[in-house]
């Protein structure tokens, strides 16, 4: 089961004593602020988790995979995520524990 906003709100309700509406609103605002920052060209660094960076890509040649027709892939701005050292180490530890099973 994947983690969703509903479960995050539930956790804030349990651990912080926010009421359910407040908890839901705060989780929503958390992601909206990150989106808003990225939309405004601001890269986001969340220590203990990772960085959301922006990259401007030039136009490049592409192809419609169905028809084989050549269509340029237009220039665009994309988001990339770079996990921090701490998160990478925690995830690798999970891989290690699985190998021992």
């Amino acid at each position: 089961m994947a983690l969703t906003k509903a479960e995050m709100a539930e956790k804030l309700f349990e651990e912080l004593g926010l009421n359910k509406r407040e908890a839901k609103e705060l989780v929503e605002m958390f992601f909206e602020e990150v989106r808003g920052a990225l939309e405004n060209g601001r890269q986001v660094k969340l220590s203990g988790f990772g960085n959301f960076n922006l990259r401007d890509k030039k136009e490049r040649p592409g192809r419609n995979p169905k028809t084989g027709e050549e269509i340029p892939i237009t220039a665009r701005r994309v988001v990339t995520f770079h996990p921090g050292q701490k998160l990478k180490a925690r995830v690798e530890a999970y891989a290690g524990s699985r190998e021992q099973q």
Binding site: L12, F30, A37, E39, G41, K45, R77, V78, L87, Y94
Partner: protein, 101 residues
């Protein structure tokens, strides 16, 4: 934007919550996300994106100092796939310069 700037912004927008509450909430959200990936589960946030683990197969590395071959075990690394809304909003702002602040 850093984690502490995110906390500031959310605290200003949620006047009925104390700064401490918002700080605890943001740290709780980030820790829950990191912990989810640390146990090998996915995160799915509609309109933002999804986080999952990708497997990197074992390979032979090299000690850059001695040139000696070193076997490296396979490992899991966190991966982020931006959601449709985030992709579209980020791409709509190619004219805005990218900043770290």
């Amino acid at each position: 934007m850093t984690k502490s700037e995110l906390i500031e912004i959310l605290a200003q927008r949620q006047k009925h919550l104390t700064y401490k509450d918002v700080e605890f909430a943001v740290k709780t959200i980030i820790e829950q996300m990191a912990q989810t990936l640390a146990v090998g589960e996915r995160i799915e946030i509609r309109g933002f994106g999804s986080f999952s683990l990708h497997f990197r197969p074992p390979r032979t590395g090299r000690n850059p100092k001695t040139g000696e071959s070193v076997p490296l075990e396979g490992k899991y690394v966190p991966h982020f796939k931006p959601g449709k809304e985030l992709r579209e909003r980020v791409n709509s702002s190619v004219d805005i310069p990218i900043t770290d602040s």
